[in-house]
């Protein structure tokens, strides 16, 4: 087993290690760095602008011509955000929904992915195809019936219903990523554990799960971000102000502030973006690998 793993890791590495004959200097290289600078500016300056605006005073934001760097830093936008809207409640709701959805999705996804990769039964094939199909179903297509069903069950404005709904819509992605992870883990380890007296389920929990941690992390981060920022279902199903989550809450604030208090809206944006970025930075390596696999490989 050990040898197997070494070989499979060593093979692509030796291919990659071959140096490519490319000029290290010269006008082509110069052009590449120029283009890179442009790409980075377009990708990231809007986000820099959010942060800069959030800390500017209202007078400075509407001043013409606009200042780039705030003349004086102020927290008044953040204070106003919590004063003029139930932003604290949006924040709490989103946090509850995102954490619970992530836990449920990772747990159920882990069980189902293990079942799909390790066993060959007819009903499993059916579920596998159903999840492939569900992965591509855009939320807008099931929005109307789901809204009807949940309203019929008097479950609109219910955070728990939203959690279950999110889990269902994010499971196909979790299965997609986790299946490829479980495929990469050899069965022999489990078999050895079972010889040592573990049940199959015990071997799964003690042997397979620890090895799938990178996959579980990347699944978890994507699930959290998706649930944290979801707009369509939340804005349709959550109608009372106390059950609103961040995305519809912030959109509502955009409507209400009418002429736009950009400072307050950008302060809200900063708060929404910070956890996403923090998680991304922490798990960057797993995420990029997981995204590449989840998107096009099974």
């Amino acid at each position: 087993m050990e040898i197997d793993r070494e070989r499979s890791e060593a093979a692509p590495a030796s291919r990659l290690a071959r140096p490519r004959r490319r000029a290290r200097t010269g006008p082509f290289r110069f052009g590449q760095y120029g283009l890179l600078l442009l790409v980075l500016a377009v990708a990231d300056l809007p986000l820099v602008w959010i942060v800069l605006t959030a800390f500017k005073s209202d007078q400075e934001i509407v001043a013409f011509p606009p200042t780039i760097i705030p003349k004086e830093l102020t927290l008044e936008n953040f204070e106003n955000l919590f004063l003029i809207s139930p932003f604290a409640s949006y924040l709490t709701n989103s946090l509850i929904v995102a954490v619970a959805t992530t836990a449920l999705t990772v747990l159920l996804g882990m069980f189902a992915a293990y079942s799909l990769t390790r066993f060959r039964f007819r009903f499993l094939r059916g579920v596998g195809e159903l999840s492939l199909f569900a992965y591509m179903v855009p939320p807008i297509l099931v929005l109307v019936p789901i809204a009807q069903i949940l309203t019929g069950l008097r479950l609109s404005n219910n955070l728990l219903a939203l959690i279950v709904l999110y889990t269902a819509t994010l499971l196909p992605f979790a299965l997609w990523v986790l299946r490829s992870y479980f495929h990469g883990i050899t069965v022999e380890l489990e078999q050895a554990a079972m010889v040592d007296g573990c049940t199959r389920f015990g071997a799964f929990i003690r042997v397979v799960v620890p090895q799938a941690v990178p996959g579980l992390i990347s699944t978890g981060v994507f699930t959290f971000n998706a649930a944290w920022s979801e707009y369509l279902f939340a804005s349709t199903l959550m109608t009372s102000p106390t059950s609103l989550t961040l995305s519809p809450g912030l959109a509502l604030l955009m409507d209400q502030t009418g002429v736009y208090s950009w400072g307050v809206l950008m302060a809200g944006s900063v708060i929404v973006v910070v956890p996403v970025v923090a998680l991304f930075v922490i798990a960057q390596k797993q995420l990029i690998g997981g995204l590449g696999e989840g998107a096009v490989k099974g």
């Binding site: 159903l130 269902a168 920022s229 912030l250 590449g292």
Partner: protein, 295 residues
């Protein structure tokens, strides 16, 4: 736990919760939509009048829906073309062994992570007629003499949305293509350069064939997702002005929740779903072909 279970029982128990959720929230809603599409439904009294295929005839004959369909086609083709083109160029750039790779990759992927509502807010601000930075800068550099109303004019709104949406999703293409680029065997380039191939020829005959399977699948996925994208177009322009940015997903929601025409909205959703099935079968076929080619 799991002590006396056979493999079959364990497999069933582990898959059960996921299967129930998928049936309840993916399959069942489809059946409900298909049934609803045959009725006229009064939301208050919950009365249902059977209409047969009338709703479908109205889907095809309603000018607003036809216009939304055309807009969706423009929206999708423009988005996907930009995303694939720019995505491949940036992926090649990032694969060219420049300094600071990890940081750069993170910075490039950033827009993909940003929630739609935040994107909507910041681009509404940047593209604002009066105080928006884009108009200020364009005037400053003398490109234009008076502000462009990017989001508030029917002539420009859809194209502005396409630019913003591409801004968010180009990173997705970059990461997918980049992952594939990093597996190109170096020997292929050596062989190409021994044959005297220049940069362009090497791209055309080595790189492109290598990334093509992944590119096809990613393009089809993006096509499907873009066609049904709701958040960014809706939050940036709410379908307006004068319906100029109402694509089919926005139309479905407006019909269902704005005009209370559940039956008609369901019929439209079913029509869109049929288009989805066609696209999905193309996707599955391309996926299998590319899997085979990848070996």
């Amino acid at each position: 736990m799991g002590g006396g279970l056979s493999d079959r029982q364990l497999a069933f128990l582990l898959i059960l919760p996921a299967a129930v959720l998928l049936v309840a929230f993916a399959l069942y809603p489809f059946v409900v939509a298909a049934l609803d599409s045959l009725f006229k439904i009064n939301l208050l009294t919950r009365d249902r009048t059977f209409l047969g295929v009338d709703n479908y005839l109205r889907v095809v004959s309603t000018p607003a829906i036809q216009a939304a369909f055309v807009r969706t086609v423009i929206w999708t083709i423009a988005n996907v073309t930009i995303q694939v083109g720019v995505g491949v160029v940036i992926a090649l750039l990032l694969n060219a062994r420049l300094r600071g790779q990890t940081l750069i990759r993170g910075l490039v992927l950033f827009p993909y992570m940003v929630p739609a509502v935040v994107i909507a807010l910041v681009f509404r601000f940047l593209f604002n007629d009066l105080t928006g930075l884009v108009n200020v800068l364009l005037q400053e550099f003398g490109v234009i003499t008076k502000p462009i109303s990017f989001l508030s004019s029917p002539a420009t709104v859809l194209w502005t949305l396409i630019v913003v949406n591409s801004w968010k999703y180009v990173p997705f293409m970059v990461i997918v293509v980049l992952a594939r680029l990093q597996t190109v065997p170096g020997e292929l380039y050596d062989a190409a350069s021994m044959d005297g191939a220049g940069r362009f020829a090497a791209f055309r005959h080595v790189t492109l064939p290598w990334i093509l399977p992944v590119l096809i699948v990613a393009t089809l996925l993006r096509t499907i997702w873009t066609a049904y994208d709701f958040d960014i177009p809706y939050l940036l322009a709410f379908g307006g002005p004068l319906s100029a940015s109402t694509t089919l997903p926005i139309q479905i929601r407006t019909l269902a929740f704005g005009q209370q025409q559940i039956g008609l909205a369901s019929a439209l959703a079913v029509c869109v779903a049929i288009l989805l099935v066609v696209a999905a079968s193309l996707y599955l076929r391309a996926y299998r072909t590319s899997e085979n080619r990848m070996g």
